[in-house]
Symmetry: D2
């Protein structure tokens, strides 16, 4: 399985606080804990040529993890089209946190993906609402994060195929913070936590969910649909009789 | 309730067979049967200025019905954006038949919306799989159409929120031919039948389904979500204690 | 439309605090506000013969509202069977609050319907997560109840067909507090609020949701499926050719 | 992973034609092809004590496959209760063909699970409608069975969480023939084919789907929900301030 962690990697350069928390970038931190499980991981970032997402790389990628925030608009439309095509062909996608507003996520959802937000160092508690889902393997009834950014409903997404986590926030809001979608042959997992100013991606339970997510979105060898004009599989003869 | 029936209205001009079946256009035929129920209906077509979809009209439209086929690409992107915005704001949308490939439907779905097809004068039988759904009111276990174009799976759409009809085709295929989606405040109904060379929209059961669909997608006065930065509804005080 | 409000009506008899809040019983309070909308309402209670649910009444009932709590086990199994049959035939069902543990709701869900709970006079805030749903008509982004019993996840229900409300509780939990299901021809709405020691059913927004729910679960004249051995609709002749 | 294949095993004893096709019983045939994949399989049948489903066996079973048809009523209710409890605790369940009418499947669904049927040696074609689903791994666009019993809609089940296969039948019907459900911690897969008088379980594609299903319903180490009275996770202090 080939995993690519894509990161905007801008906060890390402009905000010393973020750079201190994630000295190797958010992509670096995510790649590190995935590699613990002998997963083959590459990283790519916005400021590389083609944002690091060459055709060669995309074609061999099984799972793409996406983190972006303040430069969504700088992601080139042709790259978004290529990623979109690959998802429909079966490449798994994990959209993390502020990737809710990324071009690729919005294109796959068909909605604005807008939400409420607040930075107030408040507690988030992610409750498991589907304990049958493999993405919850190895974690407890809930994950508690002492300080996170708040994302609140209404979250303008299609009704998820599967709703796995619902967040409680200290300031009074709730949020559908773990949800899955199917698009074409591709599987998509949106997972809310991970504001750049908190060390969320070092949390072992959050890491476990992302690892589980990588396994879950990875889609091996399912059927390739055929589209377009199709010959009949059965004789169409009765109509003459009826006439 | 204000309903607008939008039609490409090109086959009617170029193909005498279609013109004979639908002398007032497909939009005219649909408007006629809706008006039987005292529904206020307007029509709009591709070749009008702004495709007949002015801001004024769109803003007062509760339900938009869309039929298009061979000129999807001629629909201007800015009009698609406006229709998309109105759907998210709560305008109901009914996409008929080949509107599966319309820009607006594809944008709302996030997928290619591709499928198999064949024109072979074959029987279609639409089976009701959700007899609790108001869209099935007044019809029987299935609707049989003696001759229709075939649409076959795989249909590249997100898993429908509600699957209402499944079609059987004489040539050996099946199709999810009646399905609903929610996007923002808007409700969407996709309904398969209605190839331009068949008199499908004169079928009383098909008319009944579309009438039911109009009622079902019409969304009255549901909450307007507020997005963006949000003040807390509860005091966020505990964090200082914890530190 | 004929609506029946069924209530256990035991707390009202044994707990003076409840009797003071609901002098005509919870069923009486619910019937009263429904009647404001010219809905035809009857009530039935546990201690009546057949719990007030005669065959005649059930057969003419379009929507049944159910409130029960401490005497679920006293509801006779044959009455539960009759209600179950009527739901599958198309009678709408609204299960309120502690009716999550009623025999009829558990039978329709197929799960334990267990949950977390706490009586601590805490704030509940019901957030709308599906602003396209008619059950949310006329209310705001959320409904706030100053004091309610807490119900917390995990709520052991099947994934709802539609999730409409998610509750935030002051003590740190969340809950899927408004959800819908389809079973046979019947539509079901579960709505969480309404602990007997709080005046929740006098809240205008809660009343609005229940009124909307009544309209939504009411199912008029959808198809009656035919089951059992079925003659073919098409000739089955090809097999001989193949052999 | 421990798999148990449960079979009624009555047709095999009373119908020589079935005995000839399945000399080791349907359970034997299924166990055989699962063992090709180094899966640890046991079998159990109706006429054994406790139908072969002892507490010890159930407690160590990860996945239970169920085939029954003419003796559903002979399955003891207490055994059904035990199987139900184990499913909610996380044991995967695959219900095959006529198990749609088994006590355990009906209890988990909450509906009659009724359908249309016909034995007429007709062609079934199972179309993949969700090519992102791991249960479709390794198969083509559709599976064709030359002769099978027909099952037709309406199939009285709750709307599936995931619909994977839709069947076309020569005689004119369609059927939701591969669907999944979640109940508690348990995952459920219903798969239609497998009438006792046809050699369906020797079909390599059908075997592949069942093998994929076994992997998919197997649920490892997801969270164990805690139910009942719960202490608050946050201080509930504000109410006094408000009063």
């Amino acid at each position: 399985m080939n995993v690519v962690v894509w990161n905007e990697n801008r906060h890390e350069k402009s905000n010393p606080m973020v750079a201190e928390i994630y000295p190797n970038g958010i992509h670096g931190a995510i790649a590190e804990f995935l590699e613990e499980d002998q997963i083959h991981v590459k990283t790519a970032t916005l400021d590389e040529e083609d944002h690091g997402l060459t055709d060669e790389l995309l074609n061999e990628t099984d799972v793409l993890i996406w983190w972006g925030h303040k430069a969504h608009d700088e992601v080139k439309d042709d790259i978004v089209e290529k990623v979109h095509k690959r998802v429909l062909e079966g490449m798994g996608l994990i959209a993390l946190h502020s990737a809710h507003f990324s071009k690729i996520f919005k294109k796959l959802m068909g909605t604005t993906c807008d939400l409420k937000w607040r930075e107030a160092d408040e507690t988030e508690r992610l409750w498991v609402v589907d304990p049958s889902h493999p993405i919850t393997e190895g974690i407890g009834e809930y994950i508690e994060l002492e300080k996170e950014e708040m994302y609140g409903e209404h979250f303008d997404i299609p009704a998820p195929d599967q709703l796995i986590f619902m967040s409680w926030f200290e300031g009074g809001e709730v949020f559908r913070s773990g949800s899955t979608y199917q698009r074409g042959k591709g599987k998509i997992f949106y997972f809310r936590p991970g504001h750049e100013t908190y060390p969320t991606y070092y949390n072992k339970e959050i890491q476990r969910v992302i690892k589980n997510g990588v396994k879950w979105v990875n889609n091996v060898n399912t059927p390739a649909p055929v589209y377009g004009n199709a010959k009949p599989l059965e004789e169409i003869t009765k109509k003459q009789v009826k006439q």
